[in-house]
Point group: C2
Chain length 406, copies 2
């Protein structure tokens, strides 16, 4: 007799109400306007449960009644539609030299998009927390002044973030075991909204999944292209987090024994060979002062457009290493698309052919396992947008916001 | 205005009945015996839906009534418990030199466990199909003669298997674009049960998840250790399949540029360095005739127990490369445990320290991201057992068997 798990796929029965809330909310989003009876018929939930859930959702202004249907026989039914405009989700992305803040409402309207210099702040955790919390406070004040209720704040960072929002390792920022979430809760004096910290690649792939041109894709990966390289991976429609939230740490996999030194202290890491700083060193050896990644990339694009051979060679080498990185994802997680994010996106015209060729050679499955390479479509704002989207995903999963005090 | 997906997490409303069936079945498994009213109260499904679902499940002999409860005030309720004993799921694992067949019932009783030599069959797809279908027919006849209904047959192979059951690539077996599922359906003359073909590592990790000592783990990975190396990965409780089912192809990731030639035609693949055949070549250079992997591994264990330095060195080198392979999984998917399967399992006492050390050095997250290394517990039968478990998982997901003709 083999001992059998009682529940090989965890079903949280305590969470049945949240599941049902999510089912109703998503049904109305996909099929609204629709009536309570329509929802009950389509979902198999009983009418009393649907009425109770709809009441909850209306009270929280996630649904609204749009008036009676004119297309029915007999007593007209009250129709329901998605609301959610009274809510705002705030995302902040921490880059090596800048902060980006965005806010969106539940239906997806962008409420604000701000950029701030951060170069001088990252070195000191205290200054970093002050800069991030100041930006968060201003963003919250702005959307509150528009009559919106702040659902939450998510901060995206390049590095390994655990489930408590502690940045365990960020070679890019030089942070180690920094309790960013705890520091922000203190600095923001426990505001009425939830605060979370997450890996920037995870957030960027959530943004591409929710707002990007991949309506059918349920398996996608995103490679960040800022000061560092990390991967965000969506598997079967859901973010791959792993056991402790440390998935996607592709940048520090060794791809060349005894290769160049990496910021992490190892040698030959993918990031040290395929990363944007490595590209800048190869493509712009004549520029010995780091101006900013953004300006350096503009210069590389200018030279590439002018067909300068040294620049094209440098881009081809970066493309080959990026193809190696993409093949690691293709072999292990078999995504439908690997999205080149950050500064890789504007360079895609010159990277694509070498990335694709290297990917095909290094992937054991035929045709790279069906994996294609595509530039990110949401620009450098993808992590900030994904940070906001993460909060909306939480509502989609049936975790309703606290009622605003009104 | 950002365009919003109507359903970022796919909810298949057409599948609501299957979901509800699964919820009821798993509730009874976890909490039975229980009444229909208990189920309705716990799941939020209405009583008419629960009655209809329970009726279906009883008719299909997945649940049974155990008589009235004695612990209630008022009219005693009829209690329900898991049945499923009338059903058998058959799994067959194809190794490079043997076939393993297993059958289990829904509660987990092992009904049969057979091994057959396969060495002379693999080279010819026609002989292979004949050998596999003969074994399947005999297993089906055995469990049918015990009064059980065959739910399905899953065949596990080392290699990339697409969603249609076509073995796209199997360097180990020398197969390429072989429609194994189609061939088996023909050879078995369209039996009344479902036939599926899947990757052996996927099946092994399903077996460890369902029957192994990881009751709480929802993120686990399994490294096969037969003639080839592949990974099966469970993420968030679910098998990671990827876009086309080609996930876990870790064996042919290059870990040493210009390394030894691999059966796939590349050089320096993980399999060429960490694989069991490579270990045998290193540890038993004096044996120049391939007897069988199993006998060779017995000899390595004997020499390791005798502390022969050359054998211990060979095991240490294999351990280092396996640690490299485990670190690829740790960095990208962050599992809680990497299970050393197949012939690696009996060698774990000598491999463990070097695997762990290499894993720790090569994983960017602290403490290898919480990843530990453990030997497989289900022996060389894990893939065959997982092949059967895959069929039971399908029922757990609410896809009920066709009614037996009785």
């Amino acid at each position: 007799m083999i001992t059998m798990r009682t529940s090989p796929h965890a079903v949280d029965f305590g969470d049945v109400r949240a599941t049902n809330l999510a089912v109703v909310l998503r049904h109305v989003r996909a099929n609204g306007p629709c009536s309570r009876a329509d929802i009950a018929a389509a979902t198999g939930l009983n009418k009393a449960t649907v009425s109770s859930i709809v009441g909850d959702l209306i009270r929280r202004r996630l649904l609204r009644e749009t008036g009676p249907s004119g297309h029915r026989i007999g007593r007209p039914a009250i129709m329901l539609a998605l609301d959610g405009e009274p809510y705002a989700a705030i995302g902040i992305a921490v880059g090596s030299d800048h902060l980006t803040a965005m806010a969106v409402d539940l239906p997806g309207t962008c409420l604000l998009s701000w950029h701030r210099s951060f170069a001088e702040h990252a070195a000191s955790p205290g200054l970093a927390v002050a800069a991030i919390s100041t930006l968060a406070r201003r963003a919250a004040a702005r959307v509150t002044s528009q009559g919106r209720y702040v659902l939450g704040l998510t901060v995206g960072v390049p590095g390994l973030v655990d489930g408590d929002g502690v940045v365990r390792r960020s070679p890019t920022l030089g942070w180690r075991d920094m309790d960013l979430r705890g520091e922000l809760v203190t600095a923001l004096r426990q505001p009425g909204y939830a605060i979370a910290v997450d890996n920037e690649a995870n957030l960027a792939v959530l943004a591409e999944q929710r707002y990007g041109p991949y309506p059918e894709a349920t398996n996608l990966a995103y490679l960040t292209g800022g000061a560092s390289i990390g991967a965000g991976v969506v598997v079967d429609g859901r973010l791959l987090r792993g056991n402790r939230g440390f998935s996607g740490g592709i940048g520090h996999i060794q791809v060349l024994p005894d290769g160049p030194a990496c910021v992490c202290g190892r040698r030959g890491c993918l990031e040290a060979l395929a990363g944007v700083p490595a590209l800048i060193r190869r493509a712009l050896p004549d520029l010995d002062v780091d101006v900013s990644l953004a300006l350096d990339i503009q210069e590389i694009v200018r030279r590439a457009k002018a067909h300068e051979p040294a620049t094209l060679d440098a881009l081809a080498e970066t493309g080959r290493w990026l193809g190696y990185g993409a093949s690691l994802l293709a072999n292990i997680v078999n995504p439908e698309v690997v999205i080149l994010g950050g500064y890789f996106a504007p360079l895609t015209p010159w990277l694509l052919a070498t990335v694709e060729a290297e990917l095909a050679v290094r992937t054991v499955a035929p045709q790279a396992g069906g994996c294609r390479i595509a530039p990110a479509t949401l620009g450098t704002e993808s992590s900030a947008l994904g940070a906001a989207a993460r909060i909306l995903d939480h509502i989609d999963a049936g975790h309703l916001p606290e009622l605003p005090d009104d």
